[in-house]
């Protein structure tokens, strides 16, 4: 991923900054500037997510693209945040630990090293809640 494309997303990736529609109360992560429900009548404001959620579904990736090859096998999941929206993220746990319904919280982690530029990208992974 290009450095510019990555840097534009830093507030969202580092702080889980999304948006909320103050008209209907829906939360959006990543942020949206239009509410799909209210369209242009929706009033959108920034919203910082608590970062806690539940595993909806998951897989263990054994064959990855080049940037993630050294991580395999790793746990990839869809996590439903407590505010409502879902996101795809890695869960830092043993492959046999992950379960549907498992409670997780966000953690700031290294995501990958870009092979061409050598830039290290950080972002959100999830860890099990004890």
């Amino acid at each position: 991923m290009s450095v510019a494309r990555f840097w534009r997303k830093i507030p969202q990736r580092y702080n889980m900054l999304g948006t909320r529609c103050e008209t209907c109360g829906r939360h959006f992560f990543p942020p949206r500037s239009f509410c799909p429900e209210c369209r242009r009548t929706g009033k959108i404001a920034d919203y910082k997510f608590a970062g806690t959620g539940t595993v909806v579904t998951y897989t263990i990736i054994h064959t990855a693209s080049e940037q993630f090859e050294q991580l395999t096998p790793y746990v990839l999941a869809i996590v439903q945040l407590d505010e409502g929206p879902r996101m795809t993220a890695q869960v830092v746990c043993r492959p046999d630990e992950v379960k549907i319904g498992m409670r997780v919280k966000r953690a700031f982690r290294r995501i990958m090293t870009d092979g061409e530029s050598g830039v290290i990208h950080y972002g959100t992974k999830f860890v099990p809640v004890e």
């Binding site: 897989t59 263990i60 054994h62 790793y74 869809i78 996101m87 795809t88 990208h121």
Partner: protein, 388 residues
């Protein structure tokens, strides 16, 4: 709106075609289609070309012009347009051709699809295919394309009765059909054991749950139905053409293991053709992964939600079953050159309806359906074709 017919169809063999270039592939498919329609190139009014990612696979863009040029039509200055919707590029190219003829704007239109995937390393092709999903919010965190479908499978198997063996039956059945298709990439039969002992890709999906990396091209020619008999004794009428969209990310879907775009496109197609799933004699569905076929036959209404595993294991989707699914071998055994797949599905249905499908022929097939998915379900194209 005018009625539209397919008057010719052609397809290369699918596989690792290292001795053929991108342009060799579509020229071969196009020539086969023209030959089938007994048509000369200067009669062509327009072309639509499905292609997902030539820019990444062979570092070539501007595919519409390239194809017109190497088809020998550059000096005829016909409009030639590339259509892109990931793995649904071919289905959408066909739909654009149908719309062009139905509208009265054009008469003789080529719909083609082509992809050359084996010129890059496997890691690079995995990354390119990830572009069919959301690069910034799925690919960035390490989601691969098989990984996303694996999460569909995990969700499905958690909620519905689908065993690992039943899932493997999808691949076993499609390899059986592929072994009877001379253009297929894999022409050998496999067993449940072959699937269950193959390399793990993304749990619970193994290598034999996944469609391969493939080179290939397919082309069909459409014309107004009223003119079809100028070219062929057996025109195949386009009874319906439907397309639907959904969220680009899997995680934003209403239901992880239901492709709402398949349901929507399917319902629109049935309505347009004034038919129901009971009228369909065979269907080519988008089995990029075994779980995708399970979802597809439910989403299109061939069996109830949650019952596709048993339906498949009982042989209902086999060549002699209630509704033969993927008689070509599907993406799994026939191969999946992403941009060409949607056109190959039409090619297979046309062959079946003309009675030209050889050892995999469905007796008396009159009406066939194609179902082509882009990404994890963000785009779906469904077509219904019928014998005239």
């Amino acid at each position: 709106m005018r009625d539209v017919a397919v008057i010719g169809a052609g397809c290369t063999t699918f596989g690792e075609k290292w001795s053929s270039s991108f342009r060799d592939l579509f020229v071969e498919a196009g020539a086969l289609a023209l030959e089938d329609a007994q048509l000369s190139g200067e009669k062509i009014d327009a072309m639509y070309v499905g292609n997902m990612s030539a820019g990444r696979f062979i570092e070539q863009e501007h595919i519409g012009a390239l194809i017109a040029d190497y088809a020998g039509l550059a000096t005829h200055h016909i409009p030639s347009t590339r259509v892109e919707a990931a793995c649904a590029s071919g289905g959408l190219a066909f739909r654009q051709a149908v719309i062009a003829v139905a509208s009265g704007m054009e008469d003789i239109v080529v719909a083609a699809g082509v992809e050359k995937m084996t010129d890059v390393e496997p890691g690079a092709s995995t990354d390119t295919l990830t572009g069919a999903a959301d690069r910034e919010w799925e690919g960035f965190v390490g989601a691969t394309f098989p990984g996303l479908y694996a999460m569909i499978a995990t969700d499905y198997m958690h909620r519905y009765p689908l065993t690992r063996e039943q899932l493997a039956m999808v691949a076993v059945k499609n390899h059986y059909n592929g072994a009877r298709n001379p253009i297929a990439q894999f022409q050998q039969e496999i067993t449940i054991d072959t699937v269950l002992k193959s390399t793990m890709v993304a749990e619970p999906l193994r290598l034999f749950d996944c469609s391969p990396i493939t080179d290939g091209a397919a082309a069909v020619i459409v014309a107004p139905l009223e003119r079809a008999r100028e070219f062929t004794d057996a025109p195949i009428k386009v009874l319906a053409s439907a397309q639907a969209s959904d969220t680009i990310t899997l995680h934003d879907r209403r239901d992880i293991s239901t492709l709402d775009a398949s349901i929507s496109a399917g319902q629109r197609a049935f309505k347009m053709a004034k038919l129901s799933h009971k009228d369909i004699d065979l269907v080519e569905v988008h089995d990029c992964f075994s779980i995708a076929e399970i979802c597809a036959i439910e989403d299109l209404g061939f069996c109830r939600k949650g019952e596709a595993g048993k339906f498949t294991a009982d042989g209902q989707t086999a060549l002699d079953g209630k509704i033969p699914v993927n008689t070509s071998g599907g993406l799994k055994a026939c191969g999946h050159p992403v941009g060409a797949t949607g056109i190959k599905q039409v090619f297979e249905v046309v062959q079946q309806l003309k009675g030209d499908a050889g050892k995999r022929q469905i007796d008396g097939a009159k009406i066939g359906m194609t179902h082509n998915v882009g990404g994890t379900g963000a785009t779906v194209a469904v077509h219904i074709l019928g014998r005239v």
